[in-house]
């Protein structure tokens, strides 16, 4: 039963990783950049919802919507001001700028909300499910995380597959110049990608802080790195790959913590990543890119 309960906890954590990783994957696939500030957008989302619940007393759902709205605007503004001017530069220049944005968000949060760790009130109000005479407990946060993840995955798959904007996104990710020649506005498509990715980051921030109720200005960086790992694990640029990578990473982390060593759980997660990349150098579901001479 402990095995099953760990598995479910892993799924819950993995779902949150998958939602964060989607932001990385979409931005990477379409703008070809590693957005290191993504983890800090999670943090901003968590703080906005925290302020909204604790200070303004709004219902959790409204707080979530507010967090999403703020993060969406933030994502688009960051893209417009910091990344768009560097569109033609080397990818490392964009990476460093992203790191700069990450520092900026962390330190701005430090000034606004101070470094004091806050206890985050869970947005999930219903009681945990007790199954098998209370031997197996599924918390509401876990359930909501998994459900949200499924809804987002299905929604995004439909969005990129069926809608015009989604098709434009895929076209831009395949070949930016060709897409532009077909009349697709590359700047607009990238801005939309950032908007979606940042809104998802807000959702992930709220879910993550509901599950692990501590909130401080660096709360986003570790899940950010883990989610990035998950995106690479599943094959960066692929939406189903992200789901697989995220869930796998969450389960490995919880199992590693429970059965191998609490202290070494991070090392275990990263060791698995390395082993998988050695066997499948493009991630589990990543596309193999043939190099042309």
């Amino acid at each position: 039963m402990a095995l099953l309960s760990n598995f479910i906890n892993g799924l819950g954590l993995g779902s949150i990783y998958a939602i964060i990783a989607l932001g990385y994957t979409m931005v990477y696939g379409i703008a070809k950049m590693l957005n290191f500030a993504h983890g800090d957008v999670i943090m901003v989302g968590a703080y906005v919802s925290f302020v909204s619940i604790a200070s303004l007393g709004t219902p959790p759902l409204l707080a979530l919507v507010m967090a999403m709205a703020v993060c969406t605007i933030l994502g688009v503004v960051i893209e417009r001001l910091a990344y768009r001017p560097l569109r033609a530069s080397a990818s490392l220049a964009v990476l460093i700028t992203a790191i700069g944005v990450s520092y900026l968000l962390q330190n701005a949060a430090l000034l606004i909300w101070t470094s004091n760790t806050k206890v985050y009130p869970s947005i999930v109000s219903f009681a945990p499910l007790h199954l098998f005479d209370g031997k197996l407990t599924i918390t509401g946060e876990m359930l909501i995380s998994v459900l949200t993840c499924i809804v987002i995955m299905v929604g995004l798959t439909l969005f990129t597959g069926k809608t015009k904007t989604g098709k434009a996104m895929r076209a831009v990710s395949e070949n930016r110049d060709a897409a532009e020649l077909m009349g697709i506005s590359v700047n607009r498509t990238i801005a939309i990608t950032f908007a979606i990715g940042s809104a998802l980051a807000a959702v992930a921030g709220v879910l993550f802080c509901s599950t692990y109720p501590v909130l401080n200005p660096t709360v986003g960086s570790i899940p950010g790195i883990k989610a990035f790992t998950a995106a690479v694990l599943g094959g960066i640029g692929s939406i189903p790959g992200t789901l697989v990578g995220g869930l796998l990473l969450g389960i490995i982390e919880i199992f590693g913590r429970a059965y191998i060593s609490q202290e070494l759980s991070n090392a275990i997660v990263f060791a698995v990543l390395i082993i998988i990349l050695l066997v499948k150098p493009n991630g589990l579901l990543g596309k193999k890119v043939n190099e042309k001479v």
Binding site: L92, Y103, F228, F270, L273
Partner: protein, 350 residues
């Protein structure tokens, strides 16, 4: 002078002279107590970060592979160095040879770590390579956080999670980090290491190996098709870079009374990478200047108190944006052309 005629050796000599002069000036200012206390406390860290930036430049700028785990090698060097000093101080009493031996051992251990990590890492490409170096950096940090080393009557005892306490002196105690026996780092040693790193990297760049490595960076397929062994050359550059980072780690650790593994986290790797990119990839002199400036910058901004890291972030973003700005590029080009026409007669005739 034959050396002066070749353009690259001339540039190298200028860089070496620059470091030496800067050292001399700072050394006398420091001896004369002209420098403020906080600034003279920064002298060794400046040297450490210069060596870190130089060594990372070998991987990122010259080999062309993005490494996000450079602090991992630094931490291997740092912890090995502390253990080496704690163990060897009963045999070697004078501080400078002790430090040199510790740096050698730290460098070798970091080099071994670099070799072991290089085996899987250098098979991968681009961003996948970057994430695996990040992963290794975190793994090293995680393991060091669980490592306990105690000195028990002249013998070293290693254990994980501190399970085997035999009542000796703990040199490394897991998350609390390593307690440094005595502060041995000096500015002189630091500059010595900077010059050593500079000379090593300059010689590599202008050797057969260096040309091979640059060929691999520019076009791996073309390099392979003319018979270069990619893995072997990449490995040589990667291990050299790790060794230098390990030596810098020893110097860093010996500058404090305690060193914690969490000091060498992802953020440290990233800030070294920022130095390399700001200084210009593959440009050694740029790395030195950027590393020195970025190490001092938070200190200089101390007056702004709470806002200093915010200002640091804004400066970083603005520098990157201005670097890419077309108009700024034009002005830079015009300035450098004007400077060149002022100083050189030869290049005009070419």
């Amino acid at each position: 002078m034959r050396l002066w005629k070749s353009k690259t050796s001339r540039q190298n000599l200028i860089t070496l002279a620059m470091v030496t002069v800067a050292f001399a000036v700072l050394f006398f200012l420091n001896e004369g107590k002209v420098l403020s206390r906080s600034f003279s406390g920064q002298l060794v860290p400046i040297c450490v970060y210069i060596v870190m930036a130089l060594s990372l430049n070998l991987t990122v700028g010259i080999l062309g592979e993005l490494s996000l785990g450079h602090a991992g090698f630094m931490s291997v060097g740092a912890f090995t160095g502390v253990v080496a000093v704690a163990y060897l101080q009963q045999y070697i009493t004078s501080p400078v040879p002790l430090m040199l031996v510790a740096m050698l051992i730290g460098g070798i251990m970091a080099g071994i770590a670099g070799f072991l990590i290089g085996i899987p890492v250098l098979r991968l490409r681009g961003d996948y390579l970057a994430i695996v170096t990040l992963a290794f950096g975190e793994i090293i940090r995680n393991i060091l956080e669980c490592l306990y080393v105690e000195l028990d009557g002249g013998a070293l005892r290693f254990s994980m999670f501190g399970s085997a306490d035999v009542g000796g002196n703990f040199i490394i105690s897991g998350p609390q980090g390593a307690s440094v026996p005595s502060k041995l780092s000096t500015f002189g040693l630091g500059i010595g290491l900077v010059l050593f790193a500079l000379i090593v990297i300059m010689n590599i760049v202008h050797s057969k190996e260096g040309r091979a490595v640059k060929a691999i960076r520019d076009n791996a397929i073309a390099a392979e098709s003319v018979g270069l062994n990619l893995t072997s050359y990449k490995m040589k550059a990667f291990v050299t870079s790790a060794i230098l980072a390990g030596m810098a780690g020893v110097l860093f650790a010996m500058n404090y009374s305690t060193v914690e593994a969490k000091k060498f986290n992802f953020n440290t790797s990233i800030s070294v990478l920022v130095m390399v990119v700001l200084g210009g990839m593959g440009n050694l002199r740029g790395s030195i200047i950027a590393a020195a400036l970025l190490t001092v910058l938070p200190e200089l901004l101390r007056g702004f108190d709470d806002y200093r890291m915010l200002i640091y972030a804004i400066v970083l973003i603005l520098v990157m944006l201005l670097n890419a700005n077309a108009r700024v590029k034009q002005i830079k080009l015009a300035c450098s052309q004007k400077l060149r026409s002022l100083f050189s007669r030869k290049e005009a005739s070419k």
